[in-house]
Each structure stands twice: as C-alpha cells, then as structure tokens.
C-alpha cells in the first residue's frame, strides 16, 4: 500500500474489554519500547467498571521525544467486538488495523492495512496454557504480532515481563511463549503493507518509568511521612496503596517496628480528620483523594487553615462536577480548592507538572505545611497519577527537613512564660507550636476553630478576631518564599506568552515547538507550580502583551484566578480551556492558539 517507511513516530491504540487482562500486555508493550531507547508515553482510557466495558490503551512513540497524547491513531488493535466498529473507524488513513479474527463484523475501509489475527487459534494451539489462563494470555498474541510487524525487540519484551512478574519464571515463560507464537505466525502469514515501523534509539538511557501516584508516595516517604489517612477513590487510591507497598521497605526501624501508620478511614470526612489530628500532634500527615472526597473534606480543611495545622492533601483530579467520570482526567478542582472552606480562606496549592515533581512535591509539601502551619494542597490528576510516564530518576531531597517552629521541653525551659501559641514574635505571621507529649508544664495549649488570643485563649473580641485573621493573611505572604517558583522558558522574538500547569505541560511544549516550526510563532512559557502567585508570575504577565492561559477544565479556572489577582493586566490574559476527560493533545493547544492569533 505504501513504500515509505515512517519510523518512530506514530501512535498505537489497543481496544479491549475492561477486566480482560489487557493491561499487562499494554504496559509490556510500552516498557519494551522504552527499553529500546524510544521515547514513549502510554495512556489508559478506561471505563468506571470492573469487567466488560470497552477500554483503550494508546501508546505514542516519538523519536523527537514528544509524550503528549495524539488524536491520530496509526496503528489500531481491535480485540473487543463491542468497540470494533469505532476502532476500525479510528485508524488514520494509511494506517494499520490489527483485529482478532473471531470478530465477524463487516470491514468497510480500503485505505488502511488490515491484519486479521487468529488469536483464539494460536492460544488453543499452545498446549502449555492452562485453560483458565487462556483469556488472559490471548492478549500476548497481539504483542507478539506487533513485535514482528513493527519491529519490537523480543528481549526487551522479556525484560518488561520479568519486571511485571517480579522475575517469576512461570508466568514470564508462559507469556513469552504466546508472544513468540504470535510473532512467528505473523512472520509467516502477514505481509507488511503499512509504513509504520520502529528502530532502536538511545533516548531513554538513564530514564525510569513510573506513575505520578507512586512518585508522590515515594516522595512523601522521603519527606518522612508518618501518618496517612485515606479512603479509596479512583484515581487516588494507588497513592495510598503505594505508601502501603513502600513504607515497610523503606521505613521500618531495625527491630521491625513502624515509624508510620497508614489507616484506611471510613470516609473522607474521617480521613482528613485523622490527618488534622496527626498533623496537630506533630506528625507529617497526608491524605489523598479526588473530587468527591475533596468536597467532603471541606469543613476540616477550613478548621486546619484556621487552627493552623500542617497537613498535606493530594487531590488526584478526575472529571467533575459530582461523581462525574471517575476514570477520566481533569484540572477542574482548582477554583474549588482555592476557596475550600466557608469564610475567608487562603489555600496554598502546589501544581506538579511532571513525575519528578510529584516526587519532589511529595517531600517538599511537608516542609511547607510545617513551616507555614497550614494545609498544603497538591493538585495532580488522573493522567499524571495513574498513567506510566518516562522520567529522569528520582533525586534525593537536596534540603534537610524543615520541621517549622516547634518547641520542646528544653526550648520552653528557656522561653518560660513568654510563649504564646499564636504570638507573631518573628513578624512572619507564624507562631511557635508545642506538641502533645511535651511534658513541660507550660507546653499545653488548647486548640479550637473559634476566636482566640495570641495566648490561645478563647475570645470573641472583634479586635482579637481581626488581628488573628489578618495574621493568617500575613502567613500567606510569608509562604511565597517557600513555594516552588514557576519554570519560565523564553524564546528570542516570542510573539506571546503561555501559562500552563500540571499534566498539560507535554502538550504545551509540543505545541510551542510546532507553532514555531510550522507557523513561525515563537512563544515564552511560564509553567506555574504553586499558588499564591509569586513575583515571577506578575513579571511574566507584565512582560507580555498577550498571554494564553491553558486550562484542562470548562471554565478556564486558572485564567479566572489570574484575572482576579492581576485585574490591571486582565485584558492581556486569554483563556484556552477545554476538557473532555482525555489527556490534552498538542494539536488542541496549537489550534486554539492559532485561531486566536489569526483573529
């Protein structure tokens, strides 16, 4: 059909049924490509159900190193009769369509290469496979066939399987046998008529591959997390589950005792309640949840703000409002978290934009929370949290822990009766706290969500209230110096600026490059990593006539917050916002900017 080879630049999408065990096959594919030195990214597009509904896995290979999702799908593998028609239609012209040949549905396209795969036959032919595992390993057939057809190194596949099965020989050899069978059958029976093919590179040397929730959990462990209270919810559960997995490896004492506790609470009201208790008593405490859980945490979040309790809250955002689409990604909670609680509230928000930042903010969030004595919200999302990403290896924290202002027995002995929990002795708005268990007779104080004097005594005096709430505002200013600064990238002759945050970064970076390459439109780029906004943000805004704000939500929430904060420049800020639950593509960013530029 075509002679030109297209090397290392295409997407593969596999359509299967949820719960059919295809995820092993798909991550194996992804990992094998990664070990071939090819920049890859993989996105799992799955339904909120355990078994039976259609699910897709899409892998992008990009020799240039792009990792954003693409809408175009050059290679499609159809294993699910339920999505066959849609899958067939989704192949880009000139692309390749692999399908299980037991699906007997009409095929109405002649602009693509068609590759029927005798999946059932090959599985049945393999005597090694116990009948109860047949459905599972059937997925390896397409791995083998693809390996043969596009050139995936079988040894890399084996490495991936060994990793997946923790070096257990039995499953590895079982799956490899199916892969080989697939590859051999394809070699004999499938003449290649499409152009898409792979060649090894060395672009992933030294990189690792993992997901943002694991990175966050590991970062938290290196940050000395001591308490986690959580409640299961997609897509946040795997963060707490990673704590359960890695804490015992990394943080047992010599005699096998625990320096931490992880508790699955009865709901999110309790999860955050436990964390506020733990944070108050001096532990580095975190909870992780998603939209519905965030809504439920509102009252306790307000208490933590007002009672000045350090606590770290990870919001792995999914599609809201309400239950929404639990298995789809979004940046929809920004405005909500910004105002999380009745009354006058300030929220410190961290916005990791890469897997490594999930790790880094994993530990740094505790330093900030304990320094400022307040909740810190870390907003990740399903795409970053649950999908596998290639990334630089994690690096050990480059700063000692900052435990903030804590007074123990000996400190009080020195200070004497001068101490007051909420006294702003340092002029930064932050008082000194003592912790339960401190046996000094002056140590105890009483914490409450109602009005209190600098000495922590109950008060309803109007002046006392105002002084206290204004001190809280001062802390918000103080916080700025401790927050991660935005990452700013400039280009000579840039025509406009872009501000984005979180998991949209790969799409934005790719769009910038292509706008420059294809349209001669250079841009400067500020990737926001924290709220409140620091001076770098206003500097960036004042330095540009026109700034596009990229939001993965309906309402352009960051755009709204920036408009509110910088009204004098608000007319320069142009919102580009969209969210359909799928990770954003560079094409979307590019098209949206082009449209506005052309107007």
């Amino acid at each position: 059909m075509t002679q030109n080879r297209i090397v290392n630049d295409f997407s593969i999408t596999v359509g299967t049924a949820n719960g059919s065990g295809s995820s092993t096959a798909n991550t194996t594919l992804l990992r094998a490509l990664f070990k071939m030195g090819l920049p890859v990214s993989g996105k799992n597009l799955f339904p909120s159900n355990i078994q039976g509904l259609p699910t897709w896995y899409t892998i992008r290979v990009s020799g240039d190193g792009f990792t954003a999702r693409r809408e175009e799908q050059e290679i499609v593998v159809a294993m699910n009769p339920g999505s066959f028609v849609q899958d067939l239609a989704s192949v880009t012209p000139g692309g390749a369509f692999y399908y299980a040949d037991d699906i007997k549905l009409p095929i109405n396209r002649d602009d693509i290469s068609l590759y029927p795969m005798p999946v059932k036959q090959l599985v049945r032919a393999n005597a090694e496979i116990p009948s109860n595992l047949r459905d599972l390993v059937a997925n390896m057939v397409y791995v083998g066939i693809l390996a043969q057809m596009i050139g995936i190194d079988q040894s890399k596949i084996e490495m991936a399987l060994k990793f997946h099965f923790k070096n257990k020989e039995k499953p590895v050899s079982l799956n490899m046998s199916m892969i080989r069978a697939g590859a051999e059958w394809a070699a004999e029976n499938l003449p290649k008529t499409d152009p898409y093919t792979l060649e090894p590179l060395d672009k992933t040397d030294g990189l690792i591959m993992t997901d943002g929730n694991t990175a966050a959990a590991l970062g938290a462990i290196y940050g000395g997390v001591q308490f986690a209270g959580w409640y299961p919810i997609t897509p946040a559960s795997s963060l707490a589950e990673a704590l359960n997995e890695y804490l015992p490896q990394l943080r047992k004492s010599e005699d096998g005792k625990n320096t931490f506790a992880v508790i699955q609470a009865e709901d999110e009201l309790a999860a955050i309640g436990m964390c506020v208790g733990a944070g108050w008593s001096g532990l580095r405490a975190l909870t992780s949840t998603s939209g519905p859980g965030m809504s439920l945490m509102t009252e306790y979040a307000g208490l933590a703000y007002f009672a000045e309790v350090p606590v770290v809250i990870w919001d792995i955002q999914r599609m809201g409002p309400s239950t929404g689409l639990p298995t789809r990604t979004s940046q929809g909670d920004l405005s909500f978290v910004y105002n999380m609680g009745h009354g006058d509230i300030d929220s410190l928000i961290l916005l990791p934009g890469s897997i490594n930042e999930c790790f880094e903010f994993g530990w740094r969030s505790f330093d900030i929370a304990e320094r400022i004595q307040t909740p810190v919200y870390v907003l990740s999302d399903l795409d970053m949290g649950m999908n596998q990403w290639m990334t630089e290896p994690f690096t050990y924290p480059d700063q000692p822990m900052d435990r903030g202002k804590v007074l123990w027995e000996e400190d009080l002995e020195k200070l004497g009766a001068n101490w007051g929990r909420y006294k702003d002795t340092d002029g930064d708005g932050i008082g000194h706290r003592t912790l339960p268990g401190n046996t000094h007779p002056l140590s105890a104080y009483f914490t409450r969500g109602t009005g209190h004097t600098p000495e922590a005594r109950y008060s309803e005096e109007p002046d006392v209230w105002v002084a206290n709430i204004n001190r809280l505002k001062k802390k918000y200013e103080t916080a700025k110096q401790y927050l991660p600064k935005p990452i700013v990238k400039t280009a000579e002759g840039a025509k406009f600026g872009i501000i984005a945050y979180g998991s949209t970064d790969p799409a934005v970076e790719e769009a910038r490059l292509k706008l420059e390459r294809d349209h001669g439109l250079k841009s400067d780029y500020l990737r926001l990593r924290a709220i409140p906004f620091t001076r770098e943000v206003s500097d960036f805004i004042t330095a540009h006539e026109r700034i596009y704000i990229i939001d993965m939500n309906r309402d352009g929430q960051l755009h709204q917050l920036l408009s509110m904060k910088y009204p004098e420049h608000a007319t320069r800020l142009v919102s580009i916002a969209y969210n359909d639950g799928l990770p954003p593509t560079a094409r979307w960013v590019r098209t949206a900017i082009l449209e506005k530029e052309e107007n």
Binding site: Y246, K257, S281, G282, L435
Partner: protein, 365 residues
C-alpha cells in the same frame, strides 16, 4: 469579655502519688449554665484524675461542638486539648493519638455530637478500639443551639419550640455493644461516686472506654417526665453494682479491704449486699464490683445486651459498668509502633538514607 465564674471542682491541698495537688487538675472557670450536669462531670474528671494519679501531660483532651464539648477547658489545664468540629472528634483523636502512643485520649462529646451528626465516626472509633475514654454527656437535647431534639431524646418528649419528638431514641450503650466497644458504661451525672470510680477504671483501660453519662440540661430538658432530668435520674437510677477501682500502682489489691461505696443518692439498704466480682485491666488495675440485687457479669456482651434491652423496655435508668473486654489490643498497639513517640522521631529516623534512592529508582522500570 472574660469574667470570673464559679470554678469547676473544689479546692484541695494534698498531693497524690504523681506529686500533684488537686489544683493541678483544674481548668478554667466554667461558662456553662449553673446546675448543668456537664459541670458535675468535669468535677468528677478532676477528682478521678487526681485520685488515679494521672499525669496531666499524659492526657490529650478532645471534643466536638456543643455545651458538652466546651467542657475540656474546665479541667486539666495542663493537658493539650483540641476542640474540633461538630461530630468529628473521633477521627481527630484517632490521628492525634498516633503522635505519642503513650498518651491517653480523653474525649468529651454530646448526644447531638455523637449520636446525630457524629454517629458514623463514633461507631468507627469504637470498631478501631482507639485508646481513649469517650464520654458522651447525654442530655437528650441540643444545649448549645437552644434546645432542639437530639437523637437520644425520648419519643413523645414535648419541648417548647420543637413540638413532639416522633422517633425512638438512640441507645448509646447498645450502639457501643453492637460496635464491639471494649469498655461500656452508663452513668448518671448526679451519682458522683459511681461516675468517679468508673472514670478511674476507664482511664486505666487499654482501648476505647465509652461512658454514656446522663447529664441533665437544666435549661432545656429538665422536665420531670424526661429520662434526662435530674429528678428522673434521682428516682429511677438502678445501679448494676457498687463499683470501686483499685489502681495497680497502689500495690497489691489484697492489702486494702473493700470499702463499701457511699453513693450520693441513697440506695435501698437491702440492695447493698451480695457478691464481689473483680475484673483485672490490662495494666494490672482491678475493678471491684459488688453485686446489688443480683450478680451481674460485665464481661458478657450478651448479658449486657439483655440488661440494656430490659432497661429500655421498662424505662429504667440502669447504671454501672455494662461491659468490659480487658484484653483487646488498642489501635496503636495493632500498628506496632517504635517505642519512641512518632512525634519525637528525627530526620534520621524518618528520611531513608541517600543510598536507598538508587534502589528505589531500580525498582521503577
């Protein structure tokens, strides 16, 4: 705006074996109504802690929101305390007690706080056997918001603005048993002696001790007909036993003889008679129960249910130690923590060594 108000507790000079005088257990002047049952309970907490040689710095006070939940500022000024959210004290206490697992929680809640809005957290704290004394100052009404029905209000109770209560009351002790709380008592704030002895035992219990203390609200629910009034309690209280508490640290129990308690409300003379039963707690202390009408075994969950069901059916106020399971590990036990309190661990203990980062990176793909 503060002003002197009656002090909770009465003056005392002697020191206990912790070297503290009763004054060391006091709190700020109460701001509750005069005659409120909650004040009597505060007094008994002070007395119990003093008599049981509790070190105030080893106790953390918790509460929710309500008149009852204001109480923690009226005792143990030398203890840390946290007045949390309405109905959400249990989760806060659960987390806070991990800060230093050697500390004991002392939670004060109300019937609205625990049986209405807080039902879920209350139940789950019991299931987890959080190491705390959990007092519900039960008056069948919302005091602080001015007299609405709580979930423990008697069915048929008529209050001024609220009309008639149409629902059956939540039975806190029954809930505690259903949730397998490991120490369950029902008390009457008007019976100071029993309250104090049970409080001492509760403080020695390892795990959650739920005390459902009937505590009349003199302002909003003190009609004679109400289960929660002083007069009802005074008339209808039927103790399950005479109770006294012997602390392990005071030396072997056998060396002191049983002193018949002198309850402040009079018991029929012929009730003070019968068998003596002892229950040993985890720390070696013993609860000494002297049977009244008939022997009651507080280690049988089933007996406990029977007694409560009977009392509910007959509108009796049965008081005493309803149930105890002395040997159940508490939540912090179960979590197998290092000996040093978690909140005193240092960076060295908490941040894995630099060399581990490579291992971890290798564990990724």
């Amino acid at each position: 705006m503060s002003q002197p108000l009656p002090m909770a507790g009465a003056p005392a000079q002697q020191v206990n074996s912790a070297g503290l005088s009763k004054n060391d257990y006091r709190g700020n002047p109460t701001t509750l109504c005069q005659g409120c049952g909650h004040n009597s309970i505060s007094n008994q907490i002070i007395a119990a802690c003093y008599e049981a040689n509790v070190v105030p710095e080893k106790v953390i006070k918790f509460s929710g929101i309500g008149c009852s939940s204001k109480s923690p500022t009226y005792f143990l000024n030398r203890s840390f305390g946290f007045n949390s959210l309405h109905g959400r004290m249990p989760s806060l206490a659960t987390g806070a007690l991990f800060g230093d697992h050697r500390l004991k929680g002392l939670g004060i809640s109300g019937d609205g706080d625990s049986a209405s809005i807080g039902m879920g957290q209350f139940k789950h704290a019991m299931r987890r056997n959080v190491n705390m004394v959990y007092i519900i100052e039960n008056n069948g009404v919302y005091g602080l918001t001015k007299g609405q029905f709580s979930a423990t209000a008697d069915k048929g109770l008529t209050l001024k603005k609220q009309g008639v209560n149409m629902y059956l009351p939540v039975d806190i002790c029954m809930e505690a048993l259903a949730s397998r709380a490991t120490f369950v008592a029902r008390l009457f704030a008007g019976n100071a002696k029993q309250t104090k002895e049970v409080l001492k035992a509760a403080l020695s219990h390892n795990g959650i001790a739920v005390l459902d203390i009937i505590s009349p609200c003199v302002t909003f629910n003190n009609l004679e007909s109400s289960y929660y009034s002083y007069s009802f309690g005074k008339e209808k209280e039927g103790p399950l036993h005479d109770i006294s508490f012997h602390q392990a640290s005071e030396g072997p129990q056998s060396t002191i003889s049983y002193v018949p308690p002198k309850p402040e409300i009079k018991l029929e003379a012929d009730m003070i008679d019968g068998e003596i039963r002892e229950v040993a707690l985890h720390d070696g202390s013993t609860i000494i129960l002297k049977a009244l009408e008939k022997d009651y075994d507080p280690t049988s969950r089933f007996e406990a249910m029977r007694v409560l069901e009977e009392a509910a059916a007959n509108n009796w106020l049965v008081t005493g130690l309803v149930y105890v399971a002395p040997e159940s590990p508490s939540l912090t036990d179960v979590h197998n923590l290092v000996e040093t309190p978690l909140n005193r661990l240092t960076e060295k203990d908490l941040r894995p060594a630099p060399e581990t980062i490579k291992t971890i990176n290798d564990l990724m793909f």
